[in-house]
């Protein structure tokens, strides 16, 4: 019994302390060093924050290059799918064009009527994304892992990006800046579990928190009153109650999936974003 215990302890000690033929560090030293790094990162001293920021900038640049083969593979995969779908899409688009042509005349009438009514009510014209001063950035890395749904962009503090700024892709909100380095920044996507956005539901005025659940087509609404019955095809807007995002930004839409289950999907596709606009969130309409 005692011999077995001794053997176990010897094997453990050997595994932990013994350096192999070409090993420069023992496992014990490196494990202790890792724990020290976790501790230093946790207490966030200015020196560790600065070191992390520098490390982030360097690693992101290398990572951008290293992830190129993967991006090329994804690109070719997408191109292949697109090629096979193009004929069907073309037919659908032709039908849509015909339908849109007939709707265009109605829309023109409504636009004119809308302008006249706005003038009568003395309302200013709505601003769009292009009117606001935004920082245009390119997506450098796409972190789609079980651990996080985030993006790295090629603009940082140098370009005026700070933590908390909002990020848009094709006029739709896709996330917020959670880490601003000197040359790069990290965007937490609305599909991430840690993303929480105060929202209001179309036609109801009910407030809730829109949380990510990992997928673009599967967002969740938290703190929704029990007696509210959600309807499909309703737009979810930001409520602006966090005091940072302006109200009325369309974020998501309710829908019924193939199994007739009620779901919420993001209006933007964060994983497909290649160019994004970073703002301070004051897109007041």
């Amino acid at each position: 019994m005692a011999d077995n215990r001794d053997d176990f302890i010897i094997a453990l000690r050997y595994a932990l302390l013994k350096k192999g033929a070409k090993q420069k560090f023992s496992l014990f030293f490196l494990i202790s060093f890792s724990v020290l790094i976790i501790f230093l990162d946790k207490i966030s001293l200015p020196i560790t924050t600065f070191t992390r920021s520098v490390l982030n900038d360097i690693v992101y640049q290398i990572s951008f290059v290293a992830s190129t083969p993967g991006k090329v593979f994804n690109y070719l995969n997408d191109e292949k799918s697109e090629h096979f779908n193009i004929v069907n899409t073309n037919i659908i688009l032709k039908e849509e064009i015909e339908a849109l042509k007939s709707e265009r005349y109605d829309a023109l009438f409504l636009m004119t009527e809308n302008t006249i009514l706005k003038q009568a009510l003395k309302l200013g014209s709505a601003k769009n994304l292009g009117d606001e001063a935004s920082i245009r950035a390119k997506v450098a890395l796409d972190h789609n892992s079980p651990y996080s749904k985030s993006l790295s962009i090629n603009k940082g503090k140098k370009d005026g990006i700070i933590k908390g700024m909002t990020v848009f892709s094709q006029s739709y909100l896709i996330g917020t800046i959670i880490e601003a380095n000197y040359f790069t920044a990290r965007v937490l996507l609305i599909t991430d579990l840690n993303s929480k956005i105060p929202v209001v539901l179309q036609d109801t005025g009910v407030n809730a928190i829109l949380a990510g659940a990992g997928k673009k087509t599967d967002l969740t609404l938290e703190y929704l009153p029990d007696d509210i019955e959600l309807l499909p095809n309703k737009i979810i807007y930001t409520s602006g109650k966090d005091g940072f995002l302006s109200s009325g930004l369309p974020v998501a839409e309710t829908y019924l999936n193939k199994k007739n289950e009620f779901k919420i999907k993001s209006l933007a596709d964060p994983q497909q974003a290649s160019i994004v606009h970073v703002t301070r969130g004051q897109f007041n309409k």
């Binding site: 560090f25 490196l30 724990v35 976790i38 946790k42 992390r52 996080s148």
Partner: protein
């Protein structure tokens, strides 16, 4: 020509280290990038660490495992040192298994990968839950761990074939 040969030799001899760094930098998550087969995503870093520490420890240093973990943390965006500690715990268990095993068999090594993965992930969860405010997709992580275990034999034979060839060429 001679330089090309040297580069080729370097790549072949240091495949484990290079693959580990490349995967850490390139945000490779198994098959996660292909939507249709994303469920089969697995952690290749863990397989590399386990295989090389178990079978060819002189080809993968602890320092490289530590550094690859640090890079992985930066790329994924979690606190520094978490992946390093996780990989080093895996390495520690693998070292122990190597010392305690008398006769090496693939099936036995495949089974012992379960406790090694378990303790490695356990350390990871404990740190993430206690030292950060991050939430995780537990089901995805469980799937990832399961397929890491499941795909181990495939990579075992690939790496084993490669190493035997490299060792034969060097002899």
């Amino acid at each position: 020509m001679n330089i090309l040969k040297l580069i080729k030799e370097f790549f072949l001899n240091h495949l484990a280290v290079l693959a580990l760094y490349f995967i850490s930098f390139s945000t490779f998550e198994g098959l996660n990038s292909i939507q249709e087969v994303a469920i089969f995503s697995f952690n290749l870093q863990m397989i590399i660490v386990y295989f090389y520490v178990l079978k060819f420890p002189s080809h993968l240093g602890n320092g490289h495992i530590f550094l690859a973990g640090i890079f992985n943390d930066v790329v994924i965006g979690i606190p520094l040192g978490v992946s390093s500690l996780s990989y080093l715990v895996l390495s520690f268990f693998t070292n122990y298994i190597r010392n305690a095993t008398l006769r090496s068999r693939m099936s036995a090594e495949w089974i012992t990968f379960i406790p090694a993965l378990f303790f490695s992930n356990l350390i990871y969860f404990i740190i993430i839950n206690n030292f950060t405010h991050l939430s995780f997709f537990y089901v995805e992580l469980l799937q990832n761990t399961f397929f890491t275990f499941l795909f181990f034999p495939i990579f075992y034979y690939i790496f084993n074939y490669h190493q035997t060839r490299v060792l034969k060429d060097n002899a």
